[in-house]
């Protein structure tokens, strides 16, 4: 295992494109682990950085090649590949390599839809293709909702083009918590104001469900605005949702994603059969609260440690 020199680390932290160029021109070393990020935006850099930092301690040799520059030979020279993001996974899957692939930072629906091919299905079965989903399970969000707004009865959710496929699942989970689900599906062409206004009017708490990025963006404003106006708490699915005005969110941060993925790598290394575990939601998560919004909604928030602990304790559905 070769320890990464300091300048390389510096570059890693700052620019993928530059890094990619360096790697392309450098002689290719056969290594243990290949990281294939989809893009070089800040969260990806953070995840790569944390991964490298954690795995360095375990003397795992790591190569990093951007998704746009990867080829089969490079894949074949590594024992394990970690794809970061949906695009990287899609690229790797198209290369049809036998190298085991661990997909991280990929939504569950995207992973499932990409790995429907029989070969991929086989790979999943053989433990050569697995994923650590980006989003949190609904039940974890609902448990958070229960912790923040204990007296609620009706839980509303706006479903987009993707999430409407989970309508039944969500419906069932809400029911499990003893609440009345108020689920409304909406198209991009619908007047969001009218849809959301009726949803907010019929709910005690709103659950933001991740969907397509555009859908998330276009509806978030009105969800936030109307929930505030109607004094209905909104549970988000990201740190930015809390910053935008949601009262609380449960999510995986880049650090926790990297830590969990590193754990998976180490486990895979140490395992005798070199099988990856089945794809699943992340075990590690963070909670973010907006005290200001909570006070506006007249909610009394328990301390963050308490919420975190309560969620960790019941970290199963």
């Amino acid at each position: 295992m070769v320890k990464l020199p300091q300048p390389l680390r510096w570059v890693l932290q700052r620019g993928w494109a530059f890094m990619a160029c360096l790697i392309l021109v450098a002689p290719v070393h056969a290594g243990d682990l290949l990281l294939v990020p989809s893009q070089s935006s800040q969260p990806y850099l953070q995840v790569v950085d944390h991964l490298v930092r954690v795995l360095e301690k375990s003397r795992v040799s790591i190569d990093i090649i951007p998704a746009g520059a990867i080829d089969q030979q490079q894949l074949a020279q590594h024992q394990l590949v970690i794809s970061l993001g949906t695009r990287a996974l899609e690229t790797l899957l198209q290369l049809n390599s036998n190298t085991p692939v661990l997909a991280i930072m990929v939504p569950k629906d995207s992973f499932l839809s990409l790995s429907t091919a029989p070969a991929h299905q086989a790979a999943r079965d053989a433990g050569r293709l697995s994923a650590l989903y980006l989003e949190q399970p609904y039940w974890r969000q609902l448990r958070l909702a229960g912790l923040i707004a204990p007296g609620i009865e009706r839980v509303g959710a706006l479903l987009g083009p993707i999430s409407r496929t989970h309508q039944d699942e969500l419906h069932a989970v809400i029911r499990q918590f003893g609440w009345q689900p108020q689920l409304t599906a909406m198209d991009n062409q619908d007047n969001p104001l009218a849809v959301i206004r009726s949803l907010v009017g019929s709910s005690d708490l709103l659950l933001a469900v991740p969907d397509q990025a555009d859908f998330n963006r276009n509806t978030a404003r009105w969800l936030l605005m109307l929930s505030l106006r109607e004094q209905v708490p909104l549970i988000g699915f990201s740190r930015r949702y809390v910053e935008a005005g949601a009262v609380a969110s449960v999510f995986s941060s880049p650090v926790s994603i990297a830590a969990e993925a590193a754990q998976w790598v180490l486990n895979w290394q140490q395992s005798s059969d070199h099988r990856l575990p089945a794809a699943g939601y992340p075990q590690r998560f963070e909670i973010s609260l907006n005290a200001e919004v909570a006070s506006r909604l007249n909610l009394t928030l328990p301390p963050l440690e308490q919420i975190s602990q309560a969620l960790q304790e019941g970290n199963t559905p």
Partner: protein
């Protein structure tokens, strides 16, 4: 490099003004344009920016209204913005472009669909528009891709009018113009101030320099400035001070020098006075010397002339041959002595620059003819041919000193004759350059003994002759050529000598003489056709050119055959035939039948030219003469005058006729009383009359004449009008008033001038004839004959030609000494301020001059006389000097 023309005449103030103003003006204009444009741009940009901001605000704010379809909300949204005067209207359109609020209904296709503003230009402003998009909030922590284009809800349109912008633009332009104007005025004021601050000191300097130039050296520049100008002003002041100091110093130097100079001048004056005294002493001494010379020459000449005269008289008396020979020897030696004395006199005058040249008109040919005539006898005596070849191109009248030209040429010709034993002397006249001042060359060539090169070197030295043997052989003082040369140089001419011993000598005199413009005198023989026979080239040429000069058409032949042919063939026949024979030819002619046939073929006048005298011809060559009858015989060399006469057919010696005798005894028996105060005139007139056989008595004035008349009866009285004691008029009146028969004596008056009062006075006195001086012999004789023998009177008229005194046995020297005496007497009288004596002697001079046709002397004597009458001392002195000069010159010419 060419300077900017308008700046050339600008003063420094104007230049500084221009220097300051031009850049300022340019900068002001540039700044005005730049800042105004920037400000106008800014105003537009501001409006645009503001409009965009409003539009953005409206777009964001209208999202809810559009989503909710609430028009009221939208109207309320636009309300506060419409209060802005720049905003004319606000419109909201839905996603399909249908108007929800506001007046605009634009074509959707022209509206912007991207998330940004755009504008369209309208008549009075702009229409801003932008789409209203559904706003979104980013909630994904891991955004993998950019989302799609946000949902468009509609459009917001904002109409902005430009009235306010116009107003603002006007304000900006006004403010810019005003500030520029203010800046410009400030710049002009600054330029004026700065310009003045530069120009004033320069003007002060200039004025000071001007004053300094006008010699006001105490002028100074007032030093008010610092820097270079101050330095300059101080420098000029220093310079002026320096100049002033220098001038003062110079002035003091000049004063000092002037004082020194004055001292020197005083010393010089003293010295000059001494010199003047010395000069006066020298002049006096010179004068004494001149006087001595004149006196001595006179003293020498007087006895000599009397010797000559008496020898001449002796020659006319009956002498035996031995006595005749002695008389001739005396005459020859006396003449030689006289010429030696004259030469010495001339030389001494030349040496002391005492000779002054005349500048009068004269005929050069006449002068030469006269000269040749003078030398003919000596030439004939030696048997030498003397030829004259004139130049027909020569101007007729020239101005110069004829006496000196005559003297020079005479000397040359005399020398040529003297040193030629055999052969000829040729005088060739040639005009080298014709013009207002003609250069004339006169060559005297002889076939004499010649002069060697060595001898030529000493030739023009005084008292040196080519060979000492020459003096023995030929005589002479050795001064002739020296005098000739000096005189030539004095006349501005040159003398060139070319000689070969044994062959001959040629002396060429070149003179520049002023040509006197005069109507060409008719050629005396114009068109006369002459046939000339001469075997010898030279003589033929000389004769031919001489004849042609007189206007003859000459046909020259050289052989007898040609002569016969010319005589036979020429028609019309020749008017004259000239036959020129040498001695040998003449002898041959006696045997040849030439002359008879020639005479047969020519009926006109034949002129025979031979080396023999006519007497010889008649006696020795009678057959020849007889063959040619009628013939005119001329002896070679012949003078021009003789030739002219022969061509005219007069005064020739016709064979068979007695030789013409000029003197007659036609006045024999007449007793004539001559009343004349001047002794010279007394002598001259008496000689004239005596020549014709008359007896004369002489009275010195009217009173004496009256007395003599009463004592001795006479047949005629010649009465001079102007005489002392009793003048001619008074004397004539007294004669007419005599009681006896003397009262009817014929009187002939003699006057120098025909003055009207004299004529009037003479009118009642029964004067037979009035003769004017100079006296013409023929007129005198004719008048006397008319008066006594009752022959008709020929009108008296003045004769300008010089009288030949020699004819009356009176020498030129005598005349000159007489004139000299008169002038000396005048001088004495002037010194004694004796006006009576002065008038008397001037009168005598007038008489002499008139008698001899000396016009200039006459005029001068008259002027002197008038001055004496008017007691004008200055004029008397002036005319006396003039008279002295004229008499001295006449003396010289007589000597020459």
């Amino acid at each position: 490099m060419t300077r900017f023309r308008p700046l050339r005449n600008a003063n420094i103030h104007q230049r500084v003004m221009l220097l300051a103003l031009i850049p300022t003006l340019l900068i002001t204009i540039i700044l005005f344009v730049f800042t105004t444009r920037e400000r106008l741009n800014d105003a537009r940009e501001d409006l645009h920016h503001e409009s965009m901001q409003l539009l953005d605000y409206l777009a964001v704010s209208a999202e809810y209204g559009l989503l909710s379809g609430n028009r009221e909300t939208l109207e309320q949204l636009g309300q506060p913005i419409l209060s802005n005067p720049a905003v004319s209207a606000i419109s909201f359109l839905d996603a399909e472009g249908r108007p929800l609020v506001g007046p605009h209904q634009p074509d959707v296709a022209t509206l912007s669909t991207v998330n940004g503003s755009d504008r369209q230009v309208m008549r009075n402003g702009w229409l801003y528009h932008r789409p209203i998009l559904l706003s979104s909030v980013g909630v994904d922590d891991f955004r993998e891709r950019e989302g799609k284009k946000p949902l468009q809800l509609g459009w917001v349109l904002l109409e902005i009018n430009n009235s306010q912008l116009r107003q603002r633009e006007n304000d900006i332009l006004c403010a810019g113009a005003l500030s520029s104007l203010a800046g410009l005025l400030l710049a002009i004021w600054l330029a004026l101030v700065i310009g003045r601050s530069i120009a004033r000191p320069v003007q002060r300097i200039s004025q000071t320099i001007d004053l300094l130039q006008h010699d006001q050296l105490d002028a100074r520049v007032t030093v008010k400035d610092g820097g270079e100008l101050g330095e300059l002003q101080r420098g000029i002041n220093l310079l002026a001070a320096q100049v002033q100091r220098n001038r003062d110093h110079l002035q003091s130097e000049v004063v000092k020098s002037t004082r020194d100079l004055q001292v020197t001048l005083d010393a010089l004056e003293v010295q000059n006075r001494r010199l003047e005294q010395a000069r006066q002493r020298a002049e006096k001494a010179n004068h004494t010397k001149d006087e001595f010379l004149a006196r001595m020459s006179h003293e020498l000449r007087t006895p000599l002339t009397s010797v000559l005269g008496f020898v001449g008289l002796l020659g006319k008396t009956a002498l035996d041959s031995q006595q005749q020979e002695y008389a001739q020897v005396i005459q020859r030696t006396s003449t030689l002595l006289l010429s030696l004395i004259d030469d010495l006199l001339d030389f001494s005058k030349l040496e002391s620059d005492a000779i002054r040249l005349e500048n009068i008109e004269f005929n050069l040919i006449d002068c030469i003819e006269e000269l040749l005539e003078m030398h003919l006898p000596s030439a004939r005596q030696k048997g030498i041919n003397l030829y004259f070849i004139p130049d027909p191109a020569l101007p007729e009248q020239v101005a110069g000193d004829p006496t000196r030209v005559f003297q020079v040429l005479s000397n040359l010709v005399a020398n040529a004759i003297k040193f030629t034993q055999d052969g000829e002397v040729i005088l060739t006249l040639k005009a080298v350059e014709l013009g207002p001042k003609s250069r004339i060359q006169i060559e005297v060539r002889d076939t004499g003994i010649g002069i060697s090169k060595e001898q030529q070197e000493h030739l023009f030295q005084p008292f040196v002759q080519a060979d000492t043997s020459i003096t023995r052989r030929f005589g002479g003082s050795g001064l002739g050529l020296v005098i000739t040369r000096r005189l030539t140089e004095l006349m501005g001419g040159s003398l060139a000598l070319c000689s070969t011993p044994g062959v001959g000598t040629s002396v060429t005199l070149t003179l520049s003489l002023d040509v006197v413009a005069c109507a060409p005198a008719a050629k005396i023989f114009a068109g006369l056709s002459v046939l000339l026979y001469d075997r010898r080239n030279l003589t033929q040429q000389a004769l031919k050119q001489r004849l042609e000069y007189w206007g003859c058409r000459v046909t020259a032949v050289r052989t007898r055959r040609e002569l016969m042919q010319a005589l036979e063939q020429t028609a019309p026949p020749f008017q004259r035939l000239i036959l020129s024979f040498s001695g040998r030819e003449l002898k041959a002619l006696q045997r040849s039948p030439l002359l008879g046939p020639a005479r047969e073929r020519f009926a006109g006048e034949i002129i025979l030219l031979t080396g023999r005298s006519s007497q010889d011809m008649l006696t020795q060559f009678t057959p020849v003469i007889e063959q040619l009858q009628p013939v005119t015989i001329l002896r070679k060399p012949s003078s021009g005058n003789e030739l002219v006469k022969a061509l005219k057919g007069e005064a020739v010696l016709h064979p068979g006729a007695a030789p013409a005798r000029i003197e007659t005894q036609e006045l024999a028996g007449l007793n004539v009383l001559i009343a004349e105060d001047n002794r010279f005139n007394q002598l001259l007139i008496s000689r004239m009359l005596e020549l014709y056989g008359a007896t004369t008595r002489i009275a010195a004035d009217g009173a004496e004449a009256l007395a003599m008349l009463q004592e001795h009866p006479v047949d005629l009285v010649l009465m001079d009008i102007h005489m002392p004691v009793m003048n001619g008029i008074e004397a004539s009146r007294a004669i007419r008033n005599l009681p006896g028969p003397e009262a009817r004596i014929p009187i002939i008056s003699l006057t120098a001038s025909i003055a009207t009062p004299d004529l009037q006075a003479l009118e009642p006195l029964n004067i037979c004839a009035r003769l004017t001086k100079p006296i013409d012999e023929q007129q005198l004789i004719q008048a006397v004959r008319q008066a006594c023998l009752d022959e008709p009177i020929v009108a008296a008229h003045p004769v300008s030609s010089n009288q030949r005194l020699a004819r009356y046995g009176i020498s030129d020297t005598r005349l000159s000494s007489e004139l000299q005496q008169q002038v000396c007497a005048l001088q004495t009288a002037f010194a004694q301020q004796d006006s009576v004596q002065m008038r008397d002697h001037s009168h005598q001079l007038m008489g002499l001059a008139g008698l001899l046709g000396m016009n200039e002397l006459d005029r001068s004597a008259q002027a002197f006389n008038l001055a004496v009458k008017q007691s004008d001392d200055q004029a008397i002195a002036l005319h006396l000097r003039q008279l002295q000069r004229l008499v001295a010159e006449s003396g010289e010419s007589a000597g020459g």
